[in-house]
Subunit: 181 residues, 2 copies
């Protein structure tokens, strides 16, 4: 559960990573950091911090902050109405991130699967992103990612974000409850 | 005219500003920096350096680098086919930028109008952006911007970029010739 204590602590840590990455955010943005706990009670392993810069009907930009080894769980962005699903480009700004998408599975993934949730990770083509490297996820494509041992700050450039439509592989995740305290 | 010498020199200077801003780009991106000279022969005053991260049919992200006092000239992004014009969010990452849009004109603009081109700047609602501050330009809206005395690095988050459709107020600017050497 995302308690007030976990929320405050996660925001504070996230700000530290943004500072390391040299990314400046406003006081208002600091007050509006989002913490995704995903309702699983293992935030150190499965969780994510977000600063949403802009999210209009047409495009969206965010910073994603992952603590060391923290994972954004496997999900996809399905079509909504007449629109194809969300298209996302992840650009690593600081630290390291292991991104997984459908395709030839890597033999020994560098990411460590979150305990007790292993079966809900099903795609294993591995893409390692270091600062300055990026990857574009096509709409409706399963993906998940995990920070390396120092954590990661990732810029996300995308079409409109509609978190409530996201489809997670893990049935215990409720995306509608996962974004904000 | 954008000579090879001006191109090389502008890229080198742009890399220095990215470094000051703590922004990492790949070797390939370094080789693909774009320099807009606009064909006016006054690049110190009217010019722009760009790193394009992604530009798909649906969304686009770039870094814009402006030297001290350098100006991106007034223009708008008209509708193309059935789509409204490009929507852009400018987020200042480093330095300072003065952005001008339609609305109540400021009495004493902080930007200095480029010499001999004053009449091609017609909108004067002033928005000052410092690091962490941003502004979203609606489609088909005239805008121009100038870096402060130290220069500026600006992230642009937008819908698809189609520079060839941009409409500049200054008739001597040919946008089709302005982007790359």
């Amino acid at each position: 559960m995302l308690t007030r204590e976990l929320y405050n602590e996660s925001c504070k840590r996230a700000l530290g990573y943004l500072q390391k990455a040299g990314i400046v955010i406003t006081e208002e943005e600091k007050r509006n950091i989002e913490v995704a706990e995903y309702g699983l009670g293992q935030h150190e392993e499965i969780g994510l911090q977000l600063v949403v810069y802009v999210n209009t009907d047409r495009c969206c930009a965010k910073e994603l902050i992952l603590f060391p080894g923290q994972t954004c769980p496997e999900h996809r962005h399905p079509p909504v109405g007449n629109e194809p699903g969300k298209e996302e480009t992840f650009r690593c700004r600081w630290g390291k991130v292991y991104l997984y998408v459908p395709g030839e599975p890597v033999e020994n993934p560098k990411a460590i699967l979150p305990k007790g949730r292993e079966k809900y990770f099903t795609v294993f083509r591995e893409i390692e992103l270091n600062p300055g490297q990026q990857y574009t996820i096509e709409p409706n494509t399963l993906h998940w990612f995990q920070a390396g041992p120092e954590g990661a700050v990732i810029s996300e450039f995308s079409t409109k974000s509609r978190d409530e439509y996201d489809i997670y592989t893990d049935p215990d995740i409720n995306p509608a409850q996962s974004r904000k305290i």
